[in-house]
Amino acid sequence: MATHNKVIGGVEVSEPSLVDKILNWLQRGYSNYIFRTVIQALVTIWAVTTFTFFLVRLMPGNPVEVYIAQIINTENLTYEEAYSRAASQFSFDLDASPVEQYVDYMGALLQGDLGTSITSTGTRVLDQILRFLPWTLFSAGAGLLVSFILGLFLGMLMAYYRNSPLDHILSFISAIFSAVPNYIFGLLILVVFGVQLKWFNVGDMRGTYDPSLTPAFTLEFILDILQHAFLPILTYVLGTLGTWMLSTKSSTMSVLGEDYINVAEARGLPQSRIILSYVGRNAALPLFTLLAISIGFVLGGSVLIEELYVYKGLGSFLFQSISQRDYTSMQGVFLVITISVVLSNFAADLLYSRLDPRVRISGER
């Protein structure tokens, strides 16, 4: 590296060049945990967008060509007409080289342009997504939060009363819950409680809210939303609860063996404080790494759960666009789901570093 050497007091000292300074600054910045997490999230989002770009274009049976053939057949257009129509809907120039297409696509994405829907002409994909996204984030987020808290509580209970009948029962239950797929729970709920025992009216529970109500910040509307989201949330909880319970139990057991717990007890600290600040906090830490995986799992599973309950969120929209071969919508929804996962992971990382200062310093987890 080009350096200007200076002689100070007989000792040769190298003065860093501008490049070195920038590198040094970047390196120091990179050792900052938050900075690094942001960079990682951005790189992942970039990689995911690139991946979706090539996913739709480079697959066998190029969807664009398939779509062109489809409009030629159905609407009796010439190839050129169909071609230009497809180009405008996928919002990129089909004549351009793949690199130029890629640049255009990324440019459009940065402006929030995800193209227009193929099947419902004139609808912007982004508008559709913004309509459906909140419902999925709400139901999946609530499900994850409830099961996380419940799992933490039950798992700690199991660890405290280990080898008691309570522990054995809860262990068995959590093993079952962690094994059975969430859509199987969904089907059981629908068939047993909805259709056979008639505890609720299956038809009434469909959709995200009662269409006769106008969306407003009223108690009636909020209760209606909760009623419609109840089954999806319950299913998400049942589907993830077992994993939380088992992981909390094992992490709590390892914390209970630590010396600082003995010391805290010897100091005569109140039990409530030991449980919350000493055991709970440390036992919950390893669970945050699991949270990252389970966010993706729950959001991904929403395709099945929302389709099952006819809950009009992003998952059911993804399925709908796939079955209608609406490639632009499909690409957009997939991108948004993935970015939601990346951002949720990012949030989990930040929360983790707030709870465990060691992460910020050493950067390892």
């Binding site: 992942t44 094994a179 629908l190 068939v191 991904g300 599973g301 993935t338 996962v341």
Partner: protein, 409 residues
């Protein structure tokens, strides 16, 4: 805490061939029976193995459409219907020798009579009516009522629905347990659900095993290579793993299935495997990293025993339990994704399986029909018990591989 015994020990190696195998079996058995829920899982798994391998040999897949048995509840059977005065006389097919028997085409009754006539060609004359959206049934009931036929065979659910004191005061059931009873009832086409459950697991379980095996293999190879080679290879493999990990797997599978027109099970297994290795790969990588630092591995390196010896003899045996347990979880994961895809109609549905039964539940509305609950419940429970057995068995394995337990043998 007990202190380590300091007396020098002389290790005598048992050279007999069967000893290690017997020891292992003994450990396995103790481990499996010690943990009650693990034992349940083990039994459940054995049950599935038997059903999947031998079930189809004994219970043939029923694909005969029977119009009068649409979505029959468990226990429903074919019944013999006669006029009041003949209730005591005509109680079985044998007692109808030389008489006239009425049936309706494509019903359980027709199939029974066909079977009987194959063995006894001259047993009785058969009068039949075409079904034609149920009209045939009414015609035949009228024939019976008028005395044109002596008895008729119909399905118990049809009797409950159509024959009562008001509609046909002169008709009575003389034998209500004729023919086979359907343990789980029939589906919306009158086909025996039980045979579908027995026959519908094989393709799913094979695909899940293949996917789980492939995914574990990829994880094992990539994890070991990343940890042992290190440097840029490690960084590339870890980045790929982290990247795949962040993409929600199921939506990607759905998208890929739609784009590739997924139509065979091997491709499905490969797709699932390619997307599911990262979690295990990262775990194996960190295990190998920590194992590499152990004294005995360093001793092996110092003794220059060779890479092959170090991997096969020092590192792998210490991870085999971990890998085995994760293989099981990989299989349950593959099962989840596979059935999910089939449920949505995105994976091969020409081969009838538990997943396809759920798919029909969704697309034909059987989920919401109280009469056809079994069509959904049976595959749901089959899948749920399989997954539970797998997980319970994996937990028993954890105990089997626990060194403290091994020491007690």
């Amino acid at each position: 805490m007990t202190t380590q015994a300091t007396t020098p020990q002389v290790i005598v190696e048992d050279r007999s061939f069967f000893k290690p195998i017997l020891d292992r079996l003994k450990i396995f058995w103790i481990g499996v029976t010690r943990n009650k829920s693990g034992f349940v899982g083990f039994l459940g798994l054995m049950f599935y193995v038997i059903v999947v391998i031998f079930g189809p040999v004994f219970v043939a897949f029923d694909d005969e459409v029977k119009l009068d048995q649409i979505a029959a509840p468990p226990g429903a059977r074919v019944q013999l219907l006669t006029r009041v005065e003949n209730v005591g006389t005509y109680t079985s097919l044998e007692s109808l020798q030389g008489k006239t028997v009425g049936i309706v085409t494509n019903t359980g009754g027709e199939l029974m009579v066909e079977d009987y006539l194959e063995k006894n060609p001259d047993a009785f004359t058969v009068e039949d009516e075409r079904w034609r959206s149920g009209r045939g049934l009414d015609n035949m009931l009228d024939n019976l009522d008028a005395g044109d036929v002596d008895a008729m065979l119909i399905f118990s659910e049809t009797v409950k629905r159509d024959v009562n004191e008001q509609t046909y005061p002169d008709l009575r059931v003389s034998n209500e347990s004729l023919g086979q009873s359907y343990i789980l009832g029939t589906d919306t086409q009158g086909r025996d659900i039980f045979t579908h459950i027995i026959n519908g697991g094989r393709s799913l379980i094979m695909t899940a095993l293949l996917a789980g095996f492939l995914s574990t293999m990829i994880a094992l190879i990539f994890g070991a290579v990343a940890a042992l080679v290190g440097g840029i290879v490690d960084r590339i493999l870890t980045s790929i793993a982290n990247f795949i990990l962040v993409i929600p797997r199921f939506p990607l599978l759905v998208v890929l299935a739609a784009l590739t027109n997924l139509n065979n099970f091997v491709l499905l297994a490969v797709l699932i495997a390619v997307l599911s290795w990262p979690v295990l790969m990262r775990a194996i990588r960190s295990q190998v990293l920590s194992l590499r630092e152990r004294d005995y591995v360093e001793a092996a390196v110092a003794l220059d025993l060779g890479m092959r010896h170090i991997i096969m003899r020092e590192i792998l045996p210490n991870m085999i339990s971990f890998v085995a347990i994760n293989l099981i979880f990989a299989v349950t994961g593959a099962m989840y994704e596979q059935i999910g895809l089939i449920f949505l109609g995105m994976a091969p549905i020409n081969d009838y399986s538990w997943g396809v039964m759920l798919y029909f539940g969704r697309t034909r509305g059987t989920i919401f029909n109280p009469d056809s609950a079994m069509m959904v419940l049976a595959p749901v429970l089959a899948i749920a018990f399989f997954q539970v057995s797998m997980v319970l068995f994996a937990r028993a394995l954890e105990e089997i591989f626990n060194p403290r337990l091994r020491a007690s043998v």
